[in-house]
Structures are given as C-alpha cells and as structure tokens.
C-alpha cells in the first residue's frame, strides 16, 4: 500500500471486522489528509469504535488493511500508538488521582518529564483551577477536558476522539469543539466520532456509518448537494399524520419526516411550493403553509438510508 498523496495520514482499505456471524465493520475505505477534521457519524453500534480500534492496531481486522502516518496498523501498531492521541468513549482516567496526577501519569507513559510541557497542556485546556481536584469529583464536562488533555500531552500529530461530547451540555459541547478547532489550526489531524448530526456540520469532511458500512464521505456541502438532489420544504398543515401519509404517496416526494410541529419533505426536483400546496389542499388537508429550507445533514442521512 503506497499513498498517492503526500499529505494522506490515514488510509483505510476494505477494513472489515466480523464477530461470529455479525459484521461490525463492512469493507470500509477512506483517507484522511493532514489537517482535516473528519467527522465519523453514526448511531450506537454502527461500527465507529471498531473502526478506530482497528486503525490503532488494538483490534485485528478480519479483512482489509490500514495505515496511520505510513505505519501499518497490524505490524507497526507500536509506532502508531507513540504518535497518535486517543480519547476513548469511556475516559481512561484514574478516579483516585487528581487532574494533575492523571496528566503526569500519561505524560510519563510517553516519556515526557518537562514540567513546562505539562503546564502548556493545562493552559491550553484551561485546567488551571481543577489541577488539584480528584478526577472522580469532576463534573462530566471537566472530565472530558481532562481526558482530552491526557490524549494530547505528548503532542500527537493525529487525534482520535471517540464520542467525546456524549452526554455533556450544549455549552460544554461548543467549548469542546472550539478546542478541537484550535488543535486543528495548530496542525493536528482529527478523526472524531459522534451521533450528533449538528456536530457533523462543523467538520471539514463527514463520513456516515450505518450498520457497519460507510455510506458516504464528503464535505457537508458536497453531501447535501449530491445526496439531497431536489429541494427541502417545511410543510405546516393539519392534521399532521394524515398529511404525512398523504405526502408519502406523492411521486414527487422522495422523503417526508416529522420535524417538530411540522413536516419536512424532500422533493425529487425543484418543484414549486405551489404544486405541493395544491396537492395538499385538494386532499382536504387544512392550514397548509409551505416554505423552502436548506438541507441539513440529517436530510442527507435519511436520504442515504432510504436508498
């Protein structure tokens, strides 16, 4: 396996993992270029974590191969692990130790003894005020930051973040993404998994996983253009469920979903709002109001899953 682009830092070719007769990861291929933030998006159990574990050489693939920074994931796993940072879903923190002690421990694992480097990491993540608190006493948002600190204390060039924002409040999520971008700006390549669609909007490129398969990869804009071919409409009307059932029968409607107090319909072509309005009116549905809206990554997922 030779990379055809100098700046490709992760290559996955046909990665597959089977557990018994269950295929957790099914023929997954993608590349990550230096400096990218690649969002790996999918529900629980779709194969995101298994893919990361194979890339890092923590799990042997059933088929396929991968390279990280030019090192083979199976034969040169040690070389990879020295150079990458990994924040697993279950933060690997020592509850009995303080934040500072946790950080010192991880730095030691990577042979870092210089106190200035520790201080730099503490400052970067704003951990100054919690240095002496035990990890078990920290709220989830701070544990998450500390876990990130332990993953970057050795200044890795690639960072693998597995569901880092799961369960933290929206404010902490945004702050965390701010940190991700700060790291990306300083040249770190990032692969981050999430099941929040809105977070995927922040990524340079996004990959959609479902049932072990990588359905599509691209920039958010590319995916919206390629996967949501027609137009997206906000449809207000009553009764809601009858309207939904009716829209599903219309040939011009590719997908229709419930969205808050209204429906969201994706049409095949740039058909006019009038067409939809007339059809709904003719079917006896009331209070019809239709408005075009911009596609989201959730629309992309629903379109991909529907195909």
């Amino acid at each position: 396996m030779v990379s055809d682009q100098d700046d490709v830092v992760v290559i996955s070719e046909g990665l597959t993992k089977r557990f018994g007769d269950f295929t957790a990861v099914d023929n997954v291929s993608f590349r990550i270029r230096a400096g990218e933030v690649l969002g790996y998006l999918g529900p629980n159990g779709s194969g995101k974590t298994t893919t990361i574990r194979m890339l890092l050489g923590l799990l042997l693939p059933s088929a396929g191969q991968s390279q990280v920074l030019g090192f083979d994931s199976v034969d040169e796993a040690e070389d990879i692990r020295q150079r990458v940072g990994y924040m697993s879903q279950k933060f690997a923190l020592y509850d009995e130790l303080t934040s500072f002690e946790n950080l010192t421990f991880y730095a030691g694992v990577y042979g870092i003894r210089d106190p200035d480097e520790l201080t730099a990491t503490i400052n970067l993540l704003g951990l100054e005020n919690i240095q002496n608190e035990r990890a078990s006493d920290l709220p989830l948002g701070w544990r998450q930051r500390l876990a990130l600190a332990t993953a970057i204390v050795h200044k890795p060039t690639i960072l693998f973040l597995d569901e880092p924002t799961s369960g933290v409040d929206p404010g902490a999520r945004r702050d965390f993404w701010d940190l991700i971008y700060e790291l990306a700006e300083s040249g770190v390549t990032i692969l981050v998994t999430t099941h929040y669609m809105d977070e995927a909007e922040y990524c340079t490129r996004v990959g959609f996983m479902r049932r072990g398969r990588l359905m599509a990869v691209g920039t958010p804009t590319e995916l919206k253009e390629s996967e949501v071919a027609g137009a997206v409409w906000r449809v207000h009307c009553t009764p809601l469920l009858a309207s939904l059932d009716f829209l599903e029968t219309l040939p011009i409607v590719r997908n229709v979903s419930l969205s808050g107090n209204h429906l969201r319909a994706i049409t095949e072509e740039k058909s006019s709002a009038q067409n939809l309005e007339q059809a709904l009116d003719a079917a006896g549905l009331r209070d019809v109001h239709i408005q075009e809206t911009a596609p989201t990554l959730e629309d992309v997922f629903l379109s991909l899953a529907g195909n």
Binding site: G167, P170, E182, L244
Partner: protein
C-alpha cells in the same frame, strides 16, 4: 380545566446525601401532550422520571398519575403507566414474543389475552415479523422499539420515556416519533427526556433542567422568542481569529463557536450598528468575514444563554 391532566408533580424534592438532585420541580402534562425534559447529564432528568414512576421516593412534594396520588394509592396510580428506562434491558435469550409475554404477565394481563395484545402491540411498532427472533439478535433500533412495546403492552395512558432515542439513527428516531404522535392522538400523555435539541422542538412543551431545577418551561416556539433579533451569524476565513476580535467588541454580549461559523449575541435593536462594528473590526485586523447577518435562534442558543446566566 384540570381533569385531563394525567401527569402532575407538585414541588418535588429529592436529595442524595447532601446533594440536591431535584429541587422544587412541578409539572403538569395533559392527555395528548408530550413534554420534553432537556438538560445535560446529571441535571436531574432521570431522577425526575424515577420519582414520577415511583422508583424513587421523594423527600418532599407529591406525584399524581391519572389523578391518583402515587404515595397513597401506588398500584392504582401506576396501573396506567408505561416506563421506558434509559438502560432498559430485555431478556436477550428470549424471543420478542416471550419478552412481551413476560411484561404482560407482570402487568397482570391474564391467560390468553396477552397473545392478542402482544400481536397488536408488535404490529403497532411494526415488528410483527420478528416475533420469534431472540431479543439479543435485534438491531439497536429494534431493541428500542421492543422496549417501547414492552412499556405499552398494557395500553397505558401515561408514558415516561428516559432518553428513548439516544444514540439511535435518524431513521429509527423518525419511526419512534411517528409511533409517539399516534399514541398522543389517542389521548396518551408522555414525558420524555432528551439530549437532542431538535427532538425537543418536536414536543408540545419543553423544560430546561440544570442542577436539579427547571430553569425555563414553555412551548418551543415561544422559548426562542426573547432571542429574536439578538443573534448574528458570522462566517469567514480564520473564523477563530474573527471570534477573538468579536469578543473585544463591547456591544457583543457573547460569542459562541460553531465550527466554521460563530454566533454573536447582541442587545435587541442594535443589529445594524453591531454588524457595521464587527465588519470594521474584522477589516481593521486584516481578516475577511464572508458574511455577517442575523440568525434565527434555536433551543440550543436559549439553553446556552440560560446556562451562562
């Protein structure tokens, strides 16, 4: 009119040691209504739900289900209750149908009645063809649906759902919401907790929880109103550098990063003036903003704003 209130909590308090997990929470949820409880992990959402179903006893306050006081008539109050817990576990070595039989028996559905009820429920959740599959061999989304089926096997008029669609894909969430809307139309009252803002938008009313308290409650469309005209969205190259500059502008109240864009919160009525100020400051710094314009607030903006206060 209060007789269609199916779920009612009056000034609930719950402490664990010296930690106050639920602080003076009151709720009223009517037939046909779904109420969304939002908030970060540890805010107290699950504790509220466990108090409502009687799994925890409150330190103070009262719970009424279908008008019956939970502490004085627990069996009657809970007869019409379906509860789906966050880490709901099925018997993975039993089939779908056997699982439902178990839950039906727990609910006192007798003899042969359970079979018809189970069949109807499976059809309702669109799983009839999987009746004989072992629960352990179901996908995550189907386990979720089976959990819901088990919670509603006795046709309850109250549903308490603790993060019912956390971590499942949008297709499954769609299917779940369609089921829920049908149940609501049949007069069910539901309370669900969710970490997803877009899911909260689908509820009739939402409550924001933080540190045990409901900070704000109302219809989703109304809750965002106070931020109307007070948000600007800025895009541009070096967006983080632009964010740093924006933080120095006195008329900008707060700056929130969103990946390739930032949101600025401003005072009402200052939009035009602030757009000019931001444009000027960005230009002066030799940076380039590709667009600065007003943005419509969503629940996440409201939530972040509340938590900042």
């Amino acid at each position: 009119m209060t007789d269609d209130i199916l779920i009612e909590a009056k000034h609930l308090w719950k402490r664990f040691g010296d930690k106050v997990a639920v602080e003076d929470v009151s709720l009223q949820i009517r037939a046909g209504e779904v109420y969304g409880l939002m908030g970060p992990d540890g805010a107290g959402k699950s504790t509220v739900i466990r108090l409502l179903c009687g799994a925890y006893a409150q330190d103070e306050g009262e719970v009424f289900l279908s008008g019956r006081r939970l502490t004085s008539e627990p069996d009657n109050a809970r007869a019409n209750l379906g509860y789906l817990s966050q880490r709901f576990s099925l018997y993975s070595d039993l089939t779908v149908l056997e699982n439902l039989r178990f839950f039906a028996e727990v609910r006192g559905i007798s003899g042969e009645d359970w079979r018809q009820r189970a069949q109807e429920t499976l059809e309702f959740v669109d799983m009839a063809e999987f009746s004989n599959r072992k629960a352990g061999a179901l996908s995550g989304g189907m386990k979720q649906k089976l959990g819901l089926a088990a919670a509603m096997i006795h046709q309850p008029e109250i549903l308490l759902l603790d993060e019912p669609s956390s971590g499942v894909d949008p297709v499954t969430r769609q299917a779940f919401w369609r089921l829920l809307v049908r149940l609501l139309q049949g007069g069910v009252a539901a309370l669900l907790s969710t970490p997803y803002m877009d899911e909260a938008m689908r509820c009739n009313r939402v409550g924001f929880m933080s540190e045990g308290r409901i900070l704000l409650e109302g219809e989703p469309q109304d809750l965002t109103k106070y931020l109307e005209g007070r948000l600007l969205r800025v895009r541009g190259e070096s967006i983080r550098a632009i964010a740093r500059i924006a933080r120095e502008i006195p008329s900008v109240e707060s700056v929130q990063p969103f990946g390739d864009r930032i949101h600025l919160r401003i005072a009402a009525g200052t939009e035009r003036q602030v757009i000019k100020e931001v444009q000027k400051a960005v230009d002066n710094a030799g940076l380039h903003a590709t667009s600065i314009r007003s943005a419509s607030p969503d629940l996440e903006d409201v939530f972040v704003d509340l938590l900042e206060q």
